[in-house]
């Protein structure tokens, strides 16, 4: 092994939550992001898939572990407690696999990780970890704990304020912009003050912008539409600063976890299950899943997850395992695929995935029995009780999509293939010259 082979390999990851490949390429063509365009010209940008379901908690958990949800155990932003209808918020404590940064820490690498979803509570690393928006406060979000003081001194913000979207979307835009500015400042601070081998900074502000301003962007709304693009010019300014500060020989990856599209209608799946006779409650109206009846066949959690009320698994389960379970599951899947928007007549769902077809591993037992994948524009919701099947509102106007995420690697060619966020960490390990643990489900997108 010569000197070159032992040269330090540093890796920088910038993630931009919910940025579609199609949007980014349009922004690059429009000229809104010249700094990013310069980087893209030096590497390989591809469109790839999110996870099932296509939600950030699942996608980033899959990214950071390199395994499917059947191994890491995170199936959504809410889940039900085993043997109960009580729900809880899955956090890093429930993630049943080693993360990329824990693996790197074991190898003696110094890591800095900022804001990646499902990093609260912060698990120990060899370096710094700043938890995501699941953190209840800055005081609790960091490892080691004293980093919180640094964050306060930097006036760091964990997340933009989503409640502003209900009252004043212009104020929301200002808040998103300020949150990005503070996050970038913290990123540059830690880049300078930590002797990092691996650095990952996650930008959540793009997701917030898209949830609340996507329709305004599509409709070229005079003020809010322009603010949408202004945000991306601001983001490009951050990229420009990063270009001057990132060592030329550091490996670089930029990625998103899912795409976005406009919401035509929210779809209340539990309302539909009840209308079909598959879901009943013991209270009218029901207050939570705990009011489910012992006659209920199935219920839904966000987004599009269907759980059969299985005897032996669910506390008031009435569906027998085996043939009855399979029959009911098939009926629900078929009916979902035939379901149409009462207004437009369009189908609402494009696929109904069985758990065993999309997950494998020791956490399969807590997986949903079906995942209903929507047609773009139809956003499945897990609200327990709604009086209509669909709803279109002014506040939440953008929804996630499965197949329009992006991944970019500087200075490398991404091999032809069908890729997903599952493959990002194996790719990072290959870029760092490290072996990919055999238990990981993903593959490297670049040659070693």
């Amino acid at each position: 092994m010569g000197v070159l082979a032992s040269k330090r390999k540093r890796m920088f990851v910038l993630s931009i939550d919910g940025v579609p490949y199609t949007l980014l390429t349009r922004l690059l063509q429009r000229g809104d992001m010249p700094n990013l365009a310069a980087w893209v010209a030096e590497g390989s940008l591809v469109r790839y898939n999110s996870t099932l379901p296509w939600v950030s908690s699942v996608a980033w958990s899959t990214y950071m572990t390199g395994v499917n949800a059947g191994k890491h155990g995170i199936y959504g932003f809410v889940d039900r407690q085993p043997g109960s209808y009580k729900t809880f918020i899955p956090t890093s404590r429930h993630m049943r696999s080693e993360t990329l940064w824990e693996y790197l820490s074991r190898l003696g690498k110094h890591v800095v990780v900022m804001n990646v979803p499902v990093t609260y509570p912060p698990r120990p690393v060899n370096g710094v970890l700043i938890g995501c928006f699941l953190s209840p406060s800055i005081d609790k979000c960091a490892y080691p704990p004293e980093v919180s003081q640094t964050l306060k001194a930097l006036d760091y913000r964990i997340d933009a304020d989503p409640y502003l979207a209900r009252s004043d979307k212009l104020k929301l835009c200002e808040d998103v912009a300020l949150t990005l500015a503070r996050r970038a400042e913290a990123m540059f601070y830690f880049m300078l003050h930590e002797d990092w081998d691996f650095f990952h900074c996650h930008i959540m502000e793009t997701d917030r912008l898209h949830h609340f301003l996507w329709r305004e962007m599509e409709q070229n709304a005079p003020t809010l539409g322009q603010r949408f693009y202004a945000f991306y010019r601001q983001l490009d300014g951050v990229v420009g600063q990063l270009r001057t500060r990132l060592p030329d020989d550091a490996e670089l990856m930029i990625l998103s976890d899912h795409g976005f599209c406009g919401i035509q209608q929210e779809v209340y799946v539990n309302h539909w299950l009840a209308q079909q006779g598959w879901l009943q409650f013991e209270a009218d109206p029901p207050r939570s899943l705990e009011d489910i009846s012992s006659r209920a066949g199935a219920y839904s959690l966000d987004p599009g997850r269907i759980y059969i009320n299985l005897r032996g698994r669910e506390p008031r389960g009435c569906v027998a395992p085996g043939a009855e379970y399979e029959r009911l599951r098939a009926e629900i899947a078929q009916a979902a695929l035939e379901l149409t928007d009462p207004t437009s007549g369009e189908r609402l769902f494009q696929a109904a995935h069985k758990r065993e077809d999309i997950y494998h591993g020791p956490c399969l037992e807590s997986a949903p029995d079906l995942v209903l994948q929507p047609v773009d524009g139809y956003d499945p919701k897990g609200a327990i009780f709604k009086e209509t099947l669909t709803f279109r509102g002014p506040t939440l106007v953008g929804m996630h999509t499965f197949d329009d995420a992006l991944l970019y690697v500087r200075g490398r060619r991404i091999q032809t293939g069908s890729w997903s966020i599952l493959d990002a960490t194996p790719t990072i390990l290959t870029l760092m010259g490290l072996s990919v643990p055999p238990y990981m489900d993903g593959r490297s997108m670049v040659a070693g």
Binding site: F77, S97, E98, Y120, L134, P136, P162, R166, P362
Partner: protein, 204 residues
């Protein structure tokens, strides 16, 4: 459910606590339904490696023999727990490569603490020159560079160390996770605040 075999290798100075931890981990893995075999260095030297001394060559042979048995057990779906000083890095790494499904636990403890504890009365004899080739006193110990788990028996209780080991084995997908109660992360007020935020974002 069929479990995959793997080798869990405890290394560290004499008296650091390898056997203590290995026994506790063995019990937990049996409770989780796994087949487990423990190859303890002191026991192995009475049978499989009877007659071997403490020269480097003999130590390497001893470790390779234990490693060979671990490999056979591992490939037949058994968890092989090895607990041996195994002072030389090169032969530990050889066993790691040979076995494949392998996790190393370094049971660290400062020599001064071990001399004070002297659980088997051996350090006193070694320091008096009555025992030759004693690791840490008259023979070297090469610390692992990247063990899967590092525990420090001078800083942690055995139960704390075992918790770390089990957590890492779960995270590495070597053992299935124990059923977990999902609570305890948030106070009621914190949980409400996070839930409200997730609802405002349309995630629940």
């Amino acid at each position: 459910m069929e479990h995959q075999g793997f080798t869990l290798w405890f290394t560290g100075l004499s008296g650091a606590g390898k056997t203590t931890l290995a026994l506790k981990v063995e019990e937990i893995l049996r409770q989780r339904g796994m087949k487990v075999e423990l190859l303890d260095g002191d026991v192995v030297r009475q049978n499989l490696s009877k007659g071997l001394g403490f020269s480097k060559e003999d130590r390497d042979t001893n470790i390779k023999r234990i490693g060979f048995v671990c490999k056979l057990l591992t490939r037949n779906g058994v968890v092989a727990i090895a607990s041996a000083i195994s002072p030389y890095r090169e032969v530990r790494d050889f066993v790691r490569q040979d076995v494949g499904a392998f996790a190393e636990v370094y049971v660290k403890c400062p020599l001064e603490t071990l001399v004070q504890r002297d659980v088997k009365g051996l350090y006193k004899k070694a320091l008096a020159g009555e025992i030759a080739n004693f690791t840490g006193v008259s023979d070297p110990y090469e610390e692992p560079r990247h063990p899967e788990v590092l525990v420090d028996s001078s800083q942690e209780t055995p139960d704390e160390s075992v918790t770390k080991i089990i957590a890492k084995l779960e995270a590495l997908q070597y053992i299935p996770p124990a059923p977990q109660t999902p609570g305890g992360v948030y106070s009621n007020a914190e949980r409400k605040a996070v839930e409200d935020r997730l609802q405002a974002l349309g995630y629940i």
